[in-house]
Amino acid sequence: MLLEINDLKVSYGKIQAIKGISLNIKAGEIVTLVGANGAGKTTLLKTISGILKPAAGVIKFDGKDIQGIAPHNRVLEGLCQAPEGRGIFPGMTVLENLEMGKYARKDWKSELSEDIERIYTLFPRLKERQSQAGGTLSGGEQQMLSIGRALMSRPRLLLLDEPSMGLAPMFIQQIFKIIREIQSQGVSILLVEQNAAQALSCANRAYILETGNIVKEGAGKDLLNDDAIKKAYLGTGA
């Protein structure tokens, strides 16, 4: 098991946003977490990355409890996140943003150009824009940059927070295609999405999150055909 979460609880002051959830990801899988606004998806990702501290529960990565590992050191363990809102450094160029993906390594300059080329192969658009300031990219380009930057750290588990948010349908198709491509290169993915149709058909397994609780889990394809889910998330039910 690559990621194992057990009975995790996370609170903001008195408000409990995550109310005891368990979830796991095997190496090589795409697992999606689907839920409405405010369900607690971002909260969960932030807790995995260490930005938020859990009130209770265990997070194990590769069999090791990561509670004691400082957030900035989790990248070195092989966990990297493309955060909600993309988190592009607006005053850095596209190239500099990508280079930030390797910051965690003291030897970040070694094999730098190979890593950059790898990202440019995946996102040729970024190469055309490499000296443009990150803040001036279009939303779709920023999303590519955000994913590309996370991949620069050569993660074993990539955390994606709503990569399709605010993108045109054509762009969404492309992002999901790339997500599968990243999986084929051996990276496991935890994909948070509101675009349930796309996410469920892309993922191996899925969890449905409702106000801090997991209400359903199963294979992506099965959930896609589940009546209750169709009704609540796909807008196609009876």
Partner: protein, 316 residues
């Protein structure tokens, strides 16, 4: 008001404005860098500068140059000056790191409000001023003239003396070095990342505490070098030397757009020039009044400074 002096002395005033501006620039970078990463005005930064002036002074006493009558030879001077600048840079840099550790870090860990940090900053500043006031007997301390101030050459009314040339070369060298550090080194990239988006910086593996310490170190070292240049130029210091210089450097940073490195540099030279020109037109005593007026006007009417948000790209 006498404008005719402004014209006859124009080149000389311009040269002095640039020299003074270069000293402001080195100090204002400390304000702007720290503001970038912490969104905090480090009010004790002026005292970090003051500590540097006393370090240079202390060395001049240790070297036995007090009351020196003949200037040193150029080679010996350069050697002595380099030692003083390095020592002041190190002492100021370490003091700044210590200051952050003592006055800000705990507050930040506890998620205290900006206002608490600001009060802590002012408290630290008072402590340092009073500590130096007591230990230096509130006196004006003269710095020996180790270098002849006869002009080497002149352009119209601008007399290029060795001290001015050394200050300009030194300051521009340091600015270039800073640019390299900020843009090419790992910790420099960390400073930019934390300034632009702290949360994402953490996700990329940036150790924010370390970056903040490094920021204070860089700002402190620059202020330390600036203090040695200041001593060479003004040849005197006192426990409250940081106050007016700090206000000028801070005004320069605000004028250029606080948090913006290029802004701080441009603001410093603009302020240096304005101070020189206005002090002959209005009289020298008005110099600091002009500085305060600029500070108040910028804060009231254009708080984002000359470059405002348009120069977002240039933000640290």
């Amino acid at each position: 008001m006498d404008f005719s002096i402004l014209w006859t002395e124009f080149f000389g005033l311009t040269l002095d404005g640039i020299v003074v501006g270069a000293i402001y620039a080195l100090v204002s970078l400390g304000y702007t860098l720290v503001y970038g990463v912490l969104r905090l005005i480090n009010f004790a930064h002026s005292e970090i500068f003051m500590i540097g002036t006393f370090t240079s002074l202390g060395l001049s006493i240790v070297f036995g140059f007090t009351g020196l009558e003949e200037p040193l030879g150029i080679v010996l001077f350069l050697l002595v000056f380099l030692v003083m600048a390095l020592a002041s840079g190190i002492v100021s840099g370490m003091s700044a790191v210590l200051l952050e550790f003592v006055a800000y870090r705990r507050l930040r860990r506890r998620g205290a409000s900006r206002l608490s940090s600001l009060i802590s900053a002012i408290g630290a500043s008072f402590f340092l001023v009073e500590f130096y006031r007591l230990t230096t007997e509130s006196k004006d301390w003269d710095f020996p003239r180790m270098l002849s101030k006869d002009p080497i050459f002149s352009i119209s009314s601008a007399y290029f003396t060795l001290d001015k040339i050394i200050i300009l070369l030194g300051a521009f060298g340091l600015m270039f070095g800073l640019d390299r550090i900020i843009n090419k080194t790992r910790l420099g990239r960390g400073i930019r990342a934390v300034s632009q988006d702290e949360k994402t910086a953490i996700l990329m593996g940036v150790n924010v505490d370390r970056v903040i310490s490094f920021t204070f170190l860089v700002g402190g070292v620059l202020a330390g070098f600036a203090s040695t240049f200041y001593m060479l130029f003004y040849e005197s210091t006192k426990f409250n030397v940081g106050f007016l210089l700090g206000i000028s450097a801070f005004t320069a940073a605000v004028l250029g757009g606080i948090g913006n490195i290029r802004g701080a540099l441009v603001g410093s030279f603009v302020l240096g020039l304005i101070q020189q020109y206005s002090s002959v037109v209005l009289g020298y005593n008005w110099r600091d009044v002009v500085t305060f007026v600029i500070l108040v006007f910028v804060l009231l009417f254009k708080p984002t400074g000359l470059f405002g948000e348009a120069l977002q790209r240039a933000r640290v």
